[in-house]
Symmetry: D2
Subunit: 362 residues, 4 copies
């Protein structure tokens, strides 16, 4: 209720601050009997960890995960799975005068007014570092969904600042630090980031995610629609300001005859729906895009106020991602996976196992 638990049947409760002793989470509701070890989780954490290129924060964190519970002799037991990640590279004193002032565009101001107290070390709880436990938890969800339905997740950056990144091939994504599905554009992206860093500025990004081999029937009508929950999950990622499903904002100018994906015996024609109709999965690919705003922690001095309400200027020192979108792809995949996992369990609670007695198309 205080906003630190994600999900309803497959829940992830996270804890920790950017520069506290540890971060982690408790996963509850994982079905029993699935083989699981740290080796299933660590690769996903490695995809989002900092310090892997000059375009992201230089904080050195191995993000080594320890499973504290819920696994017996290599199998999940149905009890809570706790993940622990010790912070290694804290610089607790690294926050200058941030306790006295507020970065424009940052959670500083709102945390202060909500709680009357805040942990300023690296943004405390509001840091994007807190996406690590979620990525770890999502590795468990992805594994179960893959074993049960063959579901897979992919994502890529489709725009960096004002540079659109044409999609070429998924295989490029792992070959560059931007998660771009395009090889030839990388030098241009690197130049752009280098100039930005030199200017002490930051930029936004657009990320696309997709889930494939999704069973039909996931999602609850009216409020917990699958697309509503995806929007909630993705908008909840640090710095996200917009979410689209399927055709998204392009739907506005479409006609009904153009937008509605025709059904044929061999499958849907098109996927303007993004894999969701009436809030329930169709079995097609689920596609979503997010807009990520530019990082608010920048070196350039900005006008602000202090806690007493007086005019001041704020510069951010320390280590920050100049574009949080660069590491956002595995996070967006993770959130999408958590939504599908939760709804897979919700579905079988009410309706039993996913129906296979009716002809399905994709």
């Amino acid at each position: 209720m205080s906003g630190n638990t994600f999900g309803t049947l497959f829940t992830v409760t996270t804890f920790g601050e950017s520069h506290g002793p540890a971060i982690g989470c408790v996963i509850d509701g994982c079905p029993p009997g699935m083989s699981l070890s740290e080796a299933d989780i660590q690769p996903e954490l490695d995809r989002r960890k900092p310090g892997t290129s000059r375009h992201v924060t230089q904080r050195q964190e191995p993000d080594t995960v320890e499973i504290l519970s819920g696994v017996f002799e290599g199998k999940t037991t149905g009890t809570p799975i706790a993940l622990l990640i010790r912070n290694q590279d804290q610089r607790s004193k690294d926050y200058g005068n941030l306790l006295e002032t507020f970065r424009p565009g940052h959670a500083d101001y709102t945390y202060w007014h909500k709680y009357g107290i805040r942990d300023p070390r690296g943004g405390g709880r509001s840091s994007a570092r807190l996406t690590a436990p979620v990525v770890g938890a999502a590795a468990v969800a992805k594994k179960w969904l893959f074993e049960k339905f063959g579901t897979t997740f992919k994502g890529c950056m489709s725009q960096l600042g004002d540079i659109a990144i044409p999609f070429e091939s998924w295989e490029h994504v792992r070959e560059n630090p931007f998660f771009a599905a395009n090889a030839s554009i990388i030098p241009q992206l690197e130049d752009y980031m280098d100039a930005l860093r030199k200017d002490g500025d930051s930029c936004g990004a657009r990320i696309d995610v997709i889930a494939q081999n999704v069973p039909v029937g996931l999602g609850e009508p009216i409020y917990d629609k699958l697309d509503a929950e995806i929007a909630y999950a993705l908008m909840g990622i640090n710095a996200v300001k917009g979410v689209e499903i399927g055709a998204g904002f392009k739907s506005v100018a479409q006609k009904g005859t153009e937008h509605g994906d025709a059904l044929t015996p061999t499958g849907f024609v098109g996927n303007n729906a993004g894999g969701v109709l009436g809030g329930i999965s169709t079995g097609q690919d689920i596609t979503a895009s997010i807009a990520i705003k530019p990082t608010s922690s920048i070196r350039s001095p900005r006008p602000s106020i202090d806690k007493a309400g007086n005019s001041t200027e704020v510069e951010t020192f320390g280590r920050h991602d100049p574009c949080v979108g660069i590491r956002a792809t595995p996070i967006a995949e993770a959130m999408l996976a958590l939504v599908l996992m939760d709804h897979a369990l919700r579905h079988r609670a009410q309706c039993g196992d996913v129906r296979v007695d009716t002809p399905q198309i994709r």
Copy 2:
């Protein structure tokens, strides 16, 4: 858990189908002692009811609301407030062969596969008619928020199909059936709709909503961020495919120096944040936009399949909105109000009454 309750502390549980005997909801968690009668609720229902112009469905529903509980001698008692709206203009037999086939772009297909049964009369539970109880419930939330904080809600259509609607003035909104904040463009919109109807086609729309005089500090960090919950609420409205907060997708191409709204002793400079930072309200206006897809129930014949998976064609008869966006403005306001109401109560659970001991700006 089955998706028919909205909210956590101020909850709205709805029931009913488009052509069943009644629709309604149970509101739980309303603070005690607020004056309330049907007269507070009916005007909001009247704003969204069908049949008020030739551009919307011609179904005749007075949508008269009855309060069944929770009010004693004109005041809320803190117990559940049940709202009942009897359906008046059902045409239960009006669904042709819809039980045997699926409209492209419609929930027909997914409901069938999820539940193995569906109520085809007017779309059953998936009908936009089910937004009526929510609009009624939101009238209660709006009243409390206004009395407590002075919070108000406004909305308008900013695009119809491919026609952008420039904002002129809020006062125009109530003067036309489109909720357009623009007087001169109305004839163009009417011509567009008339042509569409003649073609048996449908179109999308873009709606903007805003909340003003919002207290600082609403929203929970990490998962139940205020903007994540707004995205969830708005994406959950029938036919919505995209949600933006503040600068939305424009953030992608912004620099950090441009996007972060500077703080000054007299207020924020700009509102790219849309009134939310780190998932918590800043006290500025909360601004959001949604993309609504074209209606899937159209007269033009479309290729589809039947329940056995065989190829067929489907035409929709009966009464339908050619653009569900036309009546969506009060619905979007309602969802935004419900989110703020819920978070106002969540805030004071953990943090006590909204803080006034720190200097606030807007």
Copy 3:
């Protein structure tokens, strides 16, 4: 969260006051495809309705239920099932000076201090009349559990005031107004009640309930243990002050060698466990007992205070049950059924359908 919804996956949200226009509930999470009509629900309501003997309140309420939603052509659709019961025999003015004073042992005092306002007509929301919608909802749960697992529910009064009622046979329960499983003791119970009524006094009762043919594996460990949820459900019934599972308070003086029910290939020997071990059902009968306190609304004058805190005396007029325990048996069964229903759905969410691949005993 405000206490008007029971359950987590099979939820019942009730509304209404004793003398308002109507009472009812919304059932959410019912699996689709089960045949259902008012005829399945009304008999359970008839078992608890008032006015059926001289030993209960003389208020005349047919408690006729109307299904407003969630059923299409006689089958549940998976969408919310709303039940409506119009109040027929309100006497809204029948509350004398109850607005100004507090009955000893009654919710008058606490509602007033909690909400600062209360509906005094017949106890308002705190009336035992509000168990009617729950009994209706439980009829739906009972039907599903019976069709799925053969689960049945029974209950009886085992003590009235200081008269213990020896168990003879379940068939007697329906033959007397006390739900006593004993025929010969009825005259003694009737005399006891007649004397009590003459004295303007009230008495308590003890009720036993049992569920049979319960699948093994229902209940969540640690907090949502099946017995913990049963305790919650039963203690939540108006006037209940104690709950026992299985051997209950007798366990205190038992030795481990005596209490632990031995397992044999043909079944458990004994049922001190009451059908629950480690919070999870064993497949044996689930047995529970409750203590019901004497009604607080009595004709005898009692010392009390008024709203200003001054000394006064209070007598209760109007119509009241001299022993709320007399009608409590179907209510206790209903609560037990709702708990099992909810946990049946929770079980299959995490673990899939109830396991049948391991040898089970009863």
Copy 4:
């Protein structure tokens, strides 16, 4: 939903198994600004830790707690507080043939059938060791309740096996290993336990708990009644089979004129209510009692079956409490504190701060 989170607004999510690497919990919803360190929590953990007398398990666990998050410069920040307790004295191989058979009266059988897998080391997740994190979390709740309302908690053992323990004085409770409020009876209790241990048997106990200085108005009507939640919390403690509030089962034989506590300007006369009327706190002491069954892990051989359903005999080796009731007093206090804490926050969500504008009595 899978039963490892307690509470709704002040939530405690626990993890861990008896012989895994660690146990712990995440506390969410703690109000910000309260001073907190390990020194506030450790003393409560020390009250329940094992190995402190010859009458409890000889497992050596210091139960040293580490706060991982949620505290900045000695004050709570409103973010999750994670507590970690490393297990020190695991004997992972200490479970003999328990994987193949089931102890009578133990969760072995039900876990196996529910999950199809179970961790047999020391009972795994079903071990009473898992009450340690809850006791730690409750220390946080107790501190807040004391600072806010002056609320305090006490408890004692009132019966051990068939020996009733007359209440003499609270001060004795801390002077003996039984938590008995009586000094002279201790030798008798010690002899009883010594004989039991010699016999390889176990016994039950009755524990009483009390909360003092409780504000009026806590608890939600209908389902989340304060007494219903207390029953849920206490019945959820390992081995509990019965719960009473106030007069409990004695209410059955009381008359209304005797049971209902009269109100006078200087306070209630008596406390049959146990501090709760209509599910809401009256401001009087909250009193509850629980029945604890004898430990199921005993040395005496018992008839049982193996996983294949064949007859066998089971003896329990390893270290076990011969009466889990001996260490249950701080656990029962902890559960009561968590319920009150949760409802204190729920109360102010809906009703604002506890009312002081009406005359209150105790």
